[in-house]
């Protein structure tokens, strides 16, 4: 099985080396079987789960779907509106799932699901102090990304577009700026609609991509999951390979005096 990470290009988050640069969200699948097949096809090693869906422990379809798969469950605080609520949910998650990783989400309202970055930074700081490895879902604002890094987040997860919108990366320049500015991993989160969006994120220099709806609500989720896996590999390789500069006019690819 090809993976997105090779020995000469490891993907490390919070001292952990991950085997895939594709992270999968679990929301939206029509059945647990569909989700399981999609996770397998994606090659993802990290699957996020909403603590709203797992608060009662592991007796649910999500955990059933992930059973026996070699995936790391990353709890998220989706649906939380305040820093206080997000911190409580993260602590519940740590207890229920035995992980101190948390994907931190604090959203302003249910209609846009956009991050409330003031509450987000507040919650991130609190959780880092409590020993969590915090991966915050944030806007594509470079200053906020810096603030999140300063308070000790293990990665930053800027959005490409609103959650579930499938609009792709609306401001590629902002994502590039964040990548150039912070030292922690940048994981593009939200907005991916199809494989080219995921490839673009990686070409912009993102360390990984997290997506859910694009796969779980596709007509054939497992097929799309495989497409995303290949897109992330292709985008990462293209980024590392160093693309040719854009030119105004043609340049013959077979010059008169060959170099090879």
């Amino acid at each position: 099985m090809s993976t997105t990470c090779t020995n000469d290009d490891p993907f490390a988050v919070a001292d952990t080396i991950l085997s895939s640069r594709l992270l999968l969200g679990s929301g939206g699948a029509s059945s647990s079987g569909v989700l399981r097949d999609a996770v397998i096809a994606s090659g993802a090693q990290v699957v996020t789960v909403s603590m709203r869906r797992t608060h009662s422990g592991v007796d649910n379809g999500l955990m059933h779907a992930l059973k026996d798969l070699e995936v790391r469950v990353l709890p998220n605080t989706s649906g939380c509106r305040t820093a206080r609520e997000a911190v409580l949910v993260a602590e519940l998650a740590r207890e229920a799932l035995g992980t101190d990783w948390v994907k931190l989400e604090v959203v302003s309202d249910d209609r846009t699901l956009l991050p409330d970055v003031i509450e987000l930074v507040e919650a991130a700081e609190t959780l880092v102090a409590k020993g969590f490895h915090v991966l915050p879902y944030t806007t594509d604002d470079v200053v906020i990304a810096q603030r999140l890094e300063e308070v000790g987040c293990s990665a930053v997860m800027p959005l490409g577009a609103p959650i579930g919108s499938g609009l792709g990366i609306r401001n590629p320049h902002a994502i590039t700026l964040i990548r150039e500015t912070v030292d922690v991993p940048v994981i593009l989160d939200a907005g991916v609609g199809t494989a080219s969006d995921a490839a673009l994120a990686m070409e912009l220099g993102c360390d990984a991509v997290l997506l859910a709806t694009a796969v779980t609500r596709a007509e054939r989720p497992a097929l799309m999951a495989g497409a995303m896996r290949h897109a992330v590999i292709a985008g990462r390789d293209a980024y590392r390979a160093g693309r040719v500069p854009r030119r105004h006019l043609a340049q013959a690819s077979s010059p008169l005096s060959p170099t090879v």
Binding site: S30, G33, R53, H55, N60, L62, E219
Partner: protein, 403 residues
């Protein structure tokens, strides 16, 4: 319903009594234990009794039994999802059997189960939602299903209580409803009149030489030819006693019932409002059933403020009159979900153990076809072709290979 204790619930159903009915002395049909007194168990017990079997129905009332809470939508079209063509074919086959079942139940029990065949409106409330409906319509086109696009104004002509929030809609004439509680009442009267013995307990399978040959319950040990397992989310525990482990988990659904002095809706209305899925199903007594959440949180019967806020906000956004109705009920059901949303039907690998479980959101819709599969299985006849993909032995084998 949920506010009542188990005993109270029984007291309200005089048709279920502790008095044992004498078995027909001349009957030579197979001896069958049906475990589970929801819509599936009752429908199976009724069908088996009509076919000459000697049936005992083991029915321990459980809080969270989804049949008590179900909206009673019979919706093969609106419930269709990608990759679920076989389930759709099963649903269509079952729906076609409902008019006859409703007529028979009326004749047998005197209870009109209120089969509404005037269709369903699936509504769009914002431009994104309209796009979502267009995608659904494409899926329906692929299955050659009939529907009609309506403008917002046309939707309001069909159902004048709808608000201007409704931008467009799909009229789906194939999706009907029944009154779940009337169906259960009718079935209870019918099975009682049909000679089905009722025991208020679960029954555990007892095996001999790898076959189910008897059941054990508070009523003692009874020899059986067949055990029909129709115990919903409680099925897994009983199946494990026989060495099977069907993957069935509870998916919690919360639902509200609103009562109005006047009729507000004449047909089922479904919508997504601000990303909350809601259905409104009218009843003849002018109650509107408003549901339903779908929460994959295990065996949890808590009724939450979030469900009330989400469901009422969505319902009142599309039918503003409901704001002044009376909130008469907030209840919880635990739907028995499987990995692929399809049920387990028919004979399992364990001889004598027939499964009729895992119906998830589709218990009322799939009750007639399930009863037919069970009848055919017990009488060693071939089951309907549409049920073959859900044949229990095949499904459990497939899952075994998968793991």
């Amino acid at each position: 319903m949920p506010a009542q204790g188990e005993d109270d619930e029984f007291a309200t159903h005089p048709t279920i009594c502790r008095v044992r009915r004498a078995l027909p002395t001349v009957s030579s049909g197979p001896v069958v234990a049906v475990v589970g007194g929801g819509v599936i168990g009752l429908t199976c017990a009724r069908q088996l009794a009509k076919s000459g079997a000697q049936v005992t129905l083991y029915d321990r009332p459980q809080r969270g039994r989804p049949s008590d809470v179900a909206a009673g939508m019979l919706a093969p079209t609106c419930e269709l999802d990608y990759g679920e063509s076989a389930l759709h074919a099963l649903s269509v086959d079952s729906l076609a059997r409902w008019p006859e079942l409703a007529r028979s139940l009326h004749a047998e029990s005197g209870v009109d189960v209120e089969l509404r065949t005037n269709g369903t409106l699936q509504l769009a409330t914002d431009p994104d939602d309209r796009l979502r409906l267009e995608r659904r319509a494409q899926l329906w086109d692929q299955h050659a299903l009939r529907y009609e696009w309506l403008t917002g104004r046309e939707c309001r002509r069909h159902e004048p209580a709808l608000s201007r929030r409704v931008l467009a809609g799909l009229r789906v004439d194939s999706d009907w409803s029944v009154d779940n509680r009337r169906v259960l009442d009718a079935l209870r009267l019918s099975v009682a009149a049909g000679g089905v013995r009722i025991v208020e307990d679960l029954a555990y399978p007892l095996l001999a030489d790898g076959s189910v040959t008897a059941v054990r319950s508070g009523d003692g040990v009874q020899r059986v030819d067949h055990l029909v397992l129709a115990a919903g989310v409680w099925s897994g525990r009983l199946a494990r006693e026989a060495g099977l482990d069907p993957a069935i988990r509870p998916v919690k659904g919360q639902q509200l019932r609103l009562h109005s002095p006047v009729e507000i809706l004449t047909r089922t209305v479904r919508a997504r409002v601000d990303e909350v899925d809601v259905y409104l199903v009218p009843r003849a007594d002018r109650t509107v059933v408003v549901g339903g959440t779908s929460e994959d949180v295990g065996h949890d019967l808590r009724r939450t403020p979030r469900a009330v806020i989400d469901l009422l906000s969505a319902a009142c956004a599309i039918v503003p009159e409901l704001r002044d109705s009376e909130l008469v009920e907030h209840s919880v059901g635990l739907r028995p979900a499987t990995d692929d949303n399809g049920p387990y039907l028919g004979l399992s690998q364990v001889p004598g153990l027939t499964l009729a479980t895992g119906h998830y959101r589709h218990g009322f819709l799939l009750a007639p076809i399930t009863a037919e599969v069970v009848r055919a299985t017990v009488l060693h006849e071939p089951p309907p072709a549409s049920s073959l993909p859900f044949c229990t032995s095949r499904r459990l084998e497939k899952e075994g290979a998968h793991a």
